[in-house]
Amino acid sequence: MPLILIGILAVLVIWVFTTYNFFVSSRARIKAAVQEIGNQLKRQADLIPNLESSTKGYLKHEKKIFADLTDARRAIASAVKSGDVQKMADAGSQLASILPSIRVAVEDNPELKASEVVTKLMDELRDTADKVMYARRLVIDLTADFNVKRVSVPSNIVANIFKFIELPGLITPEKGEHVEVGSGETKTPKVNLE
């Protein structure tokens, strides 16, 4: 009889250890994933001087784009240094908002469009934007796993004993125009292919 009780106790203790390990290792993984975002952002920012040098000759009049690019690079550098995931997400979005105008400027300029170097650079830029997106997704997924386990039975027992708090992940405002669909958006758009 006491052997059975010891057996049950052993299983319980192992379960507590396993669940606790999940929480703390999850936290460490999330931290690493945040650093990954910084890593990818830095890579993106490092491509910008290349882009500037190969296109500056042709895009002399697009002064605003280059000024914006310099600002974005500075924002990324300071965000990565701070290690704050929210700052990094914002800096990433800042750069991402400039990319469309760069693309348009390149497409409008026939010499740039034909240049293999510039085409490759644009491909690399788009790839780095993808990488930032995936790095952010990883943070979101890991945080979701953590938060789900934190509130599910029976792992929430361990969470409450060791006081694990809910992690914010990437903060997206839960109210705002990106989660609302305007009445105009529900109508099928008319595409004019002239």
Binding site: E36, D123, D127, D130, K131, Y134, A135, R137, L138, L142
Partner: protein, 308 residues
């Protein structure tokens, strides 16, 4: 319409059920075969020693192929390492999805063949390899390629290669045990074996199992393989967050009737679609599908479209 998480959990549950049934079947088979051998040779508890030997032999045979699976499969298939500049879409899609999945980037290889197909191998995520044919890279667009790579990454992340290796070790054990039993029956046993009604029944059962269980074990192994394919499809959607890429890729792959030259029976199960394009649409197709390492593509597409 089901969401990605439900699809993945449903698949996990179903594969757990199959694996549990498989373990029960293996245990029963080993027990009966051992008991039958024991009756035959006149001692109890039976030929458990023989079972142990069979397990060890089967384990050794499979261990090398599992541990070095990446090198072996690559050398059989004639693959060469993928150059980032030459295969930019393939390379970057694999890199990016690995980041998104929290996995180290797998080694990437390319097979020069116009038949579209891809496979993944490797004993764990740190030693993982994804290989695609030049046909696949040429025929699929970026989002379809991402779907296929996500499917392969799911196999890696879920340790499917390890699972299938363990399953094949167990199948091999049963095949060997059955083989021992049948051979020993021909060579004759000890004169003073325990006879009697129970002994006779066990002997008969042993004979039935010796003949039937290797086939049944193989069928279960193929069922496990099919269930893991469904699971990898569902998990791939968790990576890419949209089913349309993989659905469209599967459509394109199934429409292409060219068989893959580099594949052979031993590596067929690793590919994303059965490289031997035998589509048997007749009344015996249900039966022949039991021997398929992959579920029929129509079923896979239907399962994915439920999530779309």
């Amino acid at each position: 319409m089901i969401n990605v998480y439900e699809a993945a959990s449903a698949n996990k549950r179903k594969s757990a059920v199959i694996i549990v049934l498989f373990i029960i079947f293996v245990t029963v088979s080993v027990y009966i075969l051992s008991q039958a051998m024991g009756v035959y040779f006149g001692y109890e508890p039976g030929g458990l020693g023989a079972a142990g030997i069979a397990l060890i032999i089967s384990g050794f045979m499979s261990f090398g192929s599992y541990y070095y699976s990446d090198k072996i499969v690559l050398s059989i298939s004639g693959a060469k390492e993928a150059d980032r500049n030459e295969f930019f879409n393939f390379y970057t899609a694999a890199e990016n999805l690995a980041i998104g999945g929290g996995l180290p980037k797998p080694k990437l290889y390319v097979i020069d063949d116009s038949a579209p197909n891809a496979f993944a191998t490797g004993r764990d995520p740190e030693h993982a390899v994804i290989c695609a044919t030049t046909g696949l890279i040429a025929k699929l667009n970026k989002s379809e390629l991402e779907g296929v790579i996500a499917h392969e990454l799911s196999h890696i992340k879920n340790y499917d290669i390890r699972l299938m290796s363990i399953v094949s070790v167990l199948v091999g054990t049963i095949a060997l045990l059955a083989d021992f039993f049948l051979r020993m029956s021909f060579h004759g046993g000890r004169r003073d074996r325990k006879s009697g009604q129970l002994g006779a029944v066990i002997l008969v059962l042993g004979l039935i199992f010796a003949i039937a269980s290797p086939i049944i074990a193989q069928l279960i192994q193929l069922a496990v393989s099919r269930r893991r394919e469904f699971f990898a499809d569902a998990h791939a959607i968790a990576f890419t967050r949209q089913p349309s890429g993989l659905i469209s890729a599967l459509n394109k792959i199934s429409a292409d009737h060219e068989p893959l030259e580099a594949a052979n029976k031993a590596t067929a199960h690793l590919y994303i679609a059965n490289p031997f394009k035998d589509k048997i649409k007749s009344s015996v197709s249900w039966f022949s599908n039991l021997f398929n390492t992959h579920p029929p593509i129509e079923e896979r597409i239907a399962a994915l479209e439920k999530m779309a």
